[in-house]
């Protein structure tokens, strides 16, 4: 189980990275933390001609908050973000990050790499979509910003063009008076989620995000409901998402957990907002 051969580029500047990417459109892959890509390379599921290692690109190593956003550069690891003091300004991200992989993988795996990978059960794409965040893409042709919804198009598929790479992700800061919650269920701790659920609530209602079921994170806005009303709303979502069965769980189990985790995260959010 060894990777196929590839050229290895370690650019010192972003423009060098983009130049390599432009030159090897279709055949280059950007390597940041490699916690998803590395396994796929070892299994030869992915066989690029060129690997562009951006993990040491200082230009992409920033975490900064301004304009109501936390901007996270493409070389920032999940662990760096988790330890960043400003993270408390975005509680949903803070609640979710400990669920991303393991202690060991978070110290190498990057926030943006997880977004680029586009695994439907990943936590970070769900959070980005929940928060209506965005990714900043760059190529030699320039840069553009895509909303989360526009960015991830399917299972491991994104709107990123072959000569583009993510340079940063932008997570909006929590609006005042919001509360949030995150839960997931997987085979074991640290495994990919069978179903992941996030909620962000405010005075008017709650947004529910579900990962692991549809091809991309699904976000629904609901008014505050309770009892049967909430049951019905969650049941509608559970069926709408049309999760499929795989070796770990049936479609029916996924629906059950959309209802179950959905109720939990909405309940926690509601509790935090109104009962305290």
């Amino acid at each position: 189980m060894k990777p196929a051969g590839f050229d290895y580029a370690r650019p010192d500047r972003l423009d060098e990275a983009l130049a390599v990417l432009a030159e090897h459109t279709h055949t280059a892959r950007v390597l940041a933390g490699g916690q998803s890509l590395g396994a796929m390379l070892n299994m030869r599921l992915v066989t690029p001609k060129v690997l562009i290692d951006i993990s040491a690109l200082a230009e992409l190593g920033h975490i900064q908050a301004d304009d109501g956003m936390i901007e996270v550069g493409a070389a920032v690891t999940q662990d760096q973000l988790l330890r960043w003091p400003g993270l408390k300004e975005q509680p949903l991200l803070a609640q979710t990050l400990p669920w991303v992989g393991h202690y060991q993988t978070r110290q190498r795996g990057t926030v943006c790499g997880s977004l680029a990978h586009g695994d439907p059960s990943s936590e970070l794409p769900l959070v980005l979509a929940m928060l209506k965040g965005a990714v900043v893409l760059a190529s030699q042709r320039g840069s553009r910003t895509l909303t989360a919804a526009d960015f991830q198009t399917g299972t491991m598929q994104t709107a990123m063009r072959d000569d583009e790479m993510i340079v940063a992700a932008r997570f909006p800061l929590a609006a005042p008076g919001c509360s949030s919650a995150f839960r997931e269920i997987g085979p074991r701790r640290g495994d990919f989620a069978i179903v992941a659920a996030a909620a962000v609530g405010d005075q008017d209602g709650v947004s529910l995000g579900i990962g692991g079921v549809a091809d991309t994170p699904a976000i629904r806005r609901l008014p505050w409901l309770d009892g049967a009303g909430l049951d019905d709303a969650l049941n509608t979502i559970a069926w709408e998402l049309r999760g499929s069965s795989d070796g770990h769980a049936s479609a029916a189990y996924r629906r059950t957990q959309v209802r179950n985790l959905g109720r939990q995260v909405i309940g926690e959010t509601q509790h935090a907002l109104f009962n305290r």
């Binding site: 060894k2 892959r29 992915v46 399917g154």
Partner: protein
């Protein structure tokens, strides 16, 4: 103060903790060593039509490529426990029978290069129907795995002890259940490693492998290599990274690599990778058991009747079908049951061949028996523990011969049970259950009583023969263990055993045992655990399995040390000027018992034996080295009534646990787990507890998480450690361990095995507790959260909007993709139809299509690079169109193959004119096998949808410009695409 019985810290750790272990892959490679990689079958059952290795051979750095034809020429088929016409070789010869079966070996200058070459080998397979379910495989019209055997059931025997028929006829109650034990594996973290050399001059093979025994297989390997045993020199490394039975299954690779080294003319090394291991190394047998019990009015079990259907995978690989017979003497469990009927069948299916696995046969038997006991308790409205208590073999009856012949050596089962109840706090758990239930929570308590056999009788497998056949074949019996203890001229003691430790701390325990006999400090003893079949004593029973260490191997070391001690005393006696009977060995001294001041250092005694052999008493013998063989006198061959003492010693375990099931997500929280063991004398209690904890972890994994999953078509679905889920520290609850110690009268140390017991008791104990919690029968494992919810069987609220617009929906279990949907294409049905039937147009619609040609009427061949995101693979597909009804409908079917896997499938397309164009309705059903199914099942569906969407997007885009020739369209390909593309995890 003896050292035996103390929790000494391990000598092994001093090296292992520094990273200084010498595991198989750490040993120096001989100069010029090459590296091997295996090409493996992506499909479960197929004829190999052609293998083209030319491109692989042309790759620089590649030396040799070996195929089944080479292997068939160079080797003889492996012997197995049952004589049937189902030959097996280390490589598939003309047919593959399970996903992962080796098809070719590439030998290259390094592993990376060898794997590069694997991708260049072209194998043409003609698919055959596969059969995965043992019950289907056992049917008369199932697809045959081995044509010459004539049937998939390769062994069948019925046994009858006492008069079960009458017992059932007269029973007050008869209970019956059918359970299915799944496939799982202990998956040691170190994988298989083999390093082989061949010396053509003398036709000798020298192989180092992390093989664990039994050394019965040495004969099997040598015979396959067509050499006498002394020309297969098999060495094991000093350290082994766990085995749990699994590394028995390295033996076919010893032969494969031997031949590889011979044909390459160079040393060749192979390190198995984890994907290979999970798919193709080995597995526990999955078993379907229907079990019936007859009970009298008092809850005494008067008879048992087993129908066991054992699934050994694609080949009966030696020593199978041993899993089915290892427990034969213990089929009545911990109970006194006088009448017993057993019907055994062994069936082959298109799955990986099975083999040794911690618990070996025990988990399968006790999952049936102990579930049944619980069902009987429910039927009789008795407390399940009370029912067990009434049937336990009484302590005063020991040693007790069970109905099928096991001679249970010692123990007071009722006393151990009582101790567990008392010290484990059962009453408290019962109170918690009552309280939890009052709140409507699902809390259950489960029990399991288990007899744990250890030290397998080398003759138990012959129980599968009739008494007449056995008579012809000659008796097989015993369990020969050997150990060598010596004093060197400096007076230092060395111990060598023909065991192959895998982490149990053998070196520490042997030092304790020998130190006690020789009166020395265990810290001064050096134990050698690497083994060499040419230089070290061994026999067929050698190796590390069936928990034989503490009783048999340490026992042999004790015998050898005793003899050596006696000789040391004989040498010392004249110097001490006392009779031999007055000499004791203590604190490194030979000492007069009557006058403790009269001493001589053992160092001097030893030196004298080496330097002045003529000066020591003649009856003290020459040379301070003793090799002892312990045979296990009670281990007779099966008798004419098929009674067999299948093991040398038998421990007892009583487990119970309290747990709570969360009905919201099906998760199980184990509140407390108590395991009480009587494994005879404990040689090192800390290490004994370590074994119990390890066995418990495997048992818990089997109960809750682990399954080697196959799809009905034989596609393998558990290819990574993210798909096959051993428990981590977050999943394992605390364990309360209790001990009784009833020494075995049959082993020299009084010890019995204890490392396998919790693999036998824990799965069924947890299953019983879950059944108690949810009030539903639990008939299979593992109890994953989705399965628990399924068992709870609550109906879910209906889909509020039933007729959903057809986009793509799919179902299946990851590898089986099914979908249907419809898209509106802005073109007329005729235009769409034209595109479907025009290769050029069609090609333009398929993402990544390099080439699409018509190969016959309505037949196409396409080459495309398909996938999702970064995962892409090149596939060659052939598709046939049928039932053409222009421009309304057509059917298509086809298959595809590429480095990522294979696919077969069919689909249907219907075109209906609608406002604004044509509605294209489609349906597809595709089965995926090979790498992507094994490692990426959970992502295949979404990937398929992604590809189909791309196709329709292209179709819609091209239809925008109506004038362009490549308009709408779309159909056919899409259907197959998904499958290969499916390729993409």
């Amino acid at each position: 103060m003896g050292m035996v019985g103390q929790s000494l810290e391990r000598v092994e750790d001093l090296t292992l903790l520094r990273g200084g272990g010498r595991f198989a892959d750490d040993l120096a490679e001989p100069p010029g060593c090459l590296h091997a990689a295996f090409l493996r079958a992506p499909v479960a059952h197929a004829r190999i039509e052609a293998v083209d290795v030319s491109a692989a051979l042309a790759l620089p750095g590649v030396t040799t490529v070996i195929t089944g034809a080479d292997i068939a020429r160079e080797t003889k088929p492996f012997l197995s426990g049952v004589k049937v016409d189902a030959p097996q070789f280390p490589l598939a010869v003309d047919r593959v029978r399970y996903v992962g079966e080796p098809v070719a070996i590439v030998i290259a200058r390094d592993r990376y290069r060898a794997e590069d070459a694997l991708e260049l080998i072209d194998v043409r397979y003609e698919p055959l129907a596969a059969v995965i379910d043992p019950e289907i495989a056992a049917g008369d019209d199932a697809p045959l795995l081995h044509n010459d055997a004539g049937h998939n059931v390769l062994h069948e025997r019925r046994f009858r002890y006492g008069d079960p028929q009458t017992a059932f006829a007269e029973a007050a109650h008869v209970v019956e259940t059918t359970v299915r034990y799944p496939r799982n594996s202990c998956t040691p973290i170190e994988t298989f490693v083999v390093l082989a050399e061949h010396r053509p001059g003398e036709d000798t093979y020298e192989v180092t492998a992390n093989f664990q025994g039994p050394y019965t297989l040495h004969t099997v390997m040598a015979r396959a290599l067509k050499v006498a045993g002394n020309r297969l020199r098999l060495r094991t490394p000093p350290d082994s990274g766990g085995s749990f039975g699994v590394k028995q299954a390295v033996f076919p690779y010893v032969v494969a690599l031997g031949i590889a080294a011979k044909l390459a003319g160079r040393p060749v090394k192979w390190v198995e990778d984890r994907l290979e291991h999970l798919a193709a190394a080995t597995s526990a047998t999955n078993r379907v058991t229907t079990i019936r019990a007859a009970l009298d009015g008092q809850g005494r079990i008067t008879a048992l009747d087993y129908d066991q259907l054992e699934d050994c995978g694609a080949y009966l690989r030696a020593p199978e079908p041993a899993t089915l017979y290892r427990m034969h003497g213990n089929m009545t469990g911990a109970y006194q049951i006088d009448n017993l009927a057993i019907h055994n069948r062994v069936v082959v299916t298109n799955k990986t061949p099975t083999g040794l696995m911690r618990g070996f046969g025990g988990p399968q038997v006790y999952f049936a028996l102990e579930r049944l006991v619980d069902l009987a308790a429910t039927r009789l409205a008795l407390d399940p523990m009370e029912l067990r208590r009434r049937n336990l073999i009484p302590g005063e009856a020991m040693p007790f011969t069970t109905t099928p012949g096991a001679v249970l050596d010692s123990g007071d089962y009722a006393a151990t049970l009582a101790k567990a109840v008392r010290e484990g706090g059962l009453e408290e758990l019962k109170q918690r259950r009552t309280a939890a239930r009052a709140e409507g929570r699902l809390y259950g308590i489960g029990y399991a009583a288990v007899v744990e056999p250890s030290i397998s009788n080398m003759g138990y497998i012959t129980t599968l023969l009739t008494p007449q056949q056995r008579q012809r074949a000659g008796a097989k019996n015993g369990a020969l263990a050997t150990a060598t203890v010596s004093f060197d001229p400096s007076g230092a003691v060395t111990v060598a055993v023909s065991s192959v430790p895998q982490g149990q701390g053998h070196r520490t325990v042997l030092a304790q045992v020998v130190a006690d006999e020789l009166g020395i400090d265990p810290g001064d003893v050096v134990t050698v655990t690497d083994h060499d079949t040419l230089k070290d004593p061994w026999s067929i029973a050698s190796g590390n399995y069936s928990s034989r260490f503490a009783g048999a191997v340490a026992g042999a070391a004790k015998l050898a040390a005793e003899r050596l001690a006696k000789r040391m005393k004989a040498i010392a006696a004249p110097d001490l000027n006392v009779p031999i009977g007055d000499v004791e060995l203590v604190d490194g001294l030979a000492r007069s018992i009557s006058n403790p001041d009269n001493v001589i250092a053992l160092v001097r005694v030893a030196a004298k034996a080496h330097w002045s052999p003529l000066s020591i008493p003649e009856d003290a013998g020459a040379g301070l080295r003793e090799t002892a063989f312990w045979v296990g006198r009670e281990l007779r061959e099966p008798d004419e009534q098929d009674r067999v003492n299948s093991s040398g010693a038998y421990g007892f375990i009583f487990d119970y646990c309290g747990l709570e099931v969360d009905p919201a997500d099906g998760s199980i929280r184990i509140d407390r787990y108590v395991t009480a063991h009587d494994a005879g004398r404990l040689l090192n209690p800390a290490l004994a507890d370590g074994q119990i904890r390890g066995g418990f972890a495997h048992g818990l994994g089997a109960a809750l998480l682990e399954e080697l999953a196959y799809a009905p078509d034989g596609s393998f679905l558990s290819g990574t450690f993210a798909d096959y889920c051993p428990p981590t520290a977050s999943e394992l609850p605390e364990l309360m361990i209790l001990h009784d110690q009833s020494p075995s009268p049959f082993t020299p140390t009084g010890a019995k095995g204890l490392g396998e017991g919790n693999c036998m008791s824990t799965p069924v104990c947890i299953a019983n507790a879950v059944a108690d919690a949810i009030g539903k029968p639990v008939l299979t494992l593992p109890l994953t959260r989705p399965r628990v919810l399924e068992l709870l069987g609550e109906s879910e609220p209906a889909d509020p909007s039933p007729p959903r617009p057809a986009i793509i929906t799919s179902s299946g279990n990851g590898h089986a993709l099914k979908g249907n949907g419809s898209h509106i294409v802005p073109a007329s049905p005729e235009e769409v139809w034209a595109v479907i039937l025009d290769p050029d147009h069609l090609a333009a619609l398929i993402p990544g299509c390099h080439n699409l040609e018509r190969t016959g009427e309505n037949a196409y061949r396409a080459e495309a690079t398909l996938g999702a995101g970064p995962v892409k693979g090149r596939f060659t597909a052939s598709v046939t169109l049928r039932d053409l009804d222009p421009p309304r409908a057509l059917q298509l079917s086809g298959s595809a193959a590429g480095g990522l896997g294979t696919a077969t499938g069919q689909g249907e397309i219907r075109l209906t004119p609608v406002e604004g164009g044509t509605r294209v309705d489609y349906f597809y059903a595709v089965l995926i096998s090979g790498k992507v199914a094994a490692v990426g099942g959970r992502l295949l569906d979404g990937t398929a949808r992604g590809v189909i969407n791309q196709i329709f997007t292209r179709l819609a885009d091209s239809s925008q410009s109506q004038t362009e020739p490549k308009t709408e369209t779309m159909p056919s390909l899409r259907s197959r695409l998904p499958r290969w593309l499916g390729g993409a995890p």
